[in-house]
């Protein structure tokens, strides 16, 4: 599979490394090249400096042939915008997006984005731990 990941933070870098080690073709984007240090030295994919809400940068990352697009920067709005560009402008078959704000997550889910809120998920896990 060809996967484009936007945001090379801990989650993005880890996901990129995992998919890369399983033989998928990974391109990862970040606006800060320091963040690429999080990638393991064995990483054989592409690390690209640039803003994933810019369609020219997305094209450079190979969005036109991508099977999957994942948006995991720190900014909810950046993730939402890039995910919608991938889905509606480039027709990427699978688009996944992180949205910290639970209310915003809810809205964009109803608008058809596959979106996860780590806030809700982690709070739920903690609650279950406390109750067990």
């Amino acid at each position: 599979m060809k996967v484009v990941i936007m945001g090379c933070g801990r989650v993005g870098a880890q996901l990129a490394a995992l998919l890369d080690s399983e033989g998928h073709k990974v391109a990862i984007l970040d606006t800060d090249d320091y963040s690429f240090q999080r990638l393991p030295s064995a990483f054989s994919g592409t690390a690209l400096l640039g803003n994933g809400t810019d369609e020219d940068i997305l094209k450079r990352a190979g969005i036109e042939e991508a099977d999957v697009f994942v948006a995991v920067t720190q900014g909810d709005n950046r993730n939402v915008m890039a995910a919608q560009i991938a889905k509606h402008m480039f027709n990427v078959p699978k688009v996944i997006c992180r949205i910290y704000d639970p209310l915003r997550r809810e809205l964009y889910s109803t608008l058809g984005l596959e979106a996860f809120s780590p806030t809700t998920i982690f709070a739920q896990i903690l609650k279950e731990k406390i109750e067990s």
Binding site: T53, D54, E55, D56, G75, D76, N77, R78, V80, M81, A82, Q84, I85, H88, M89, D101, L103, R104, L107, T110, L111
Partner: protein
Amino acid sequence: MYIIIIGGGEIGYYLSKALLDEGHEILVLEKNSARNEFICSELGSICIQGDGCEAATLEAAGTGRADMLIAVTGDDEDNLVACQVAKYKFNVPRTIARIKNPKNEAIFKKLGIDVTVSSTNVILENIEEEVPTHPLTHLLTIRDKGLEIIEIKIPPESATVGKTVKELSLPSESILSLIISEERKPRVPTALTVIQAEDQIIAVTSPESEEALRIALRGA
């Protein structure tokens, strides 16, 4: 009209001031407390501190009864989300977003934003109008119809000089509506009108046919 403005920077401030003068009811949402205080002290209590992308803040601002929401923060993605939340959660009839990247115009349109204003494009258009050597000038965009009105000047060396309009291979989505001669004489072109050097041609075209029209009128 009740108008909500997202972003109390320079643009948000002067926009609010102008719209207040026109008699509209204005509410500004601004994250920064210092900017918030500044606007309230200058324009009255029309500014609330908060994130205009958050549904809870928009709810408190009475977005449900707003006639229009204008997002003018410095970040395209924040303006997009503020407009989308207003549109899809609060059914605001008209949303306007400021954009920095001109390419976002098409994206925002596809994602449901009614109007985008690109400062980059506005400046570019002005430069095109001010620079006489520029072959093609955008005069007006007819937004809802996807058409634009443009002006093209015919240089003396152009291959089309001396040809009639029907001899030109004009793209089907373009119509020549007016020709102004060097002597400032305007005429409505017919199929038999002859193109002359230094003619200024006003045409209606789709953006896609713009390049083909330019080539048809001036040569490649």
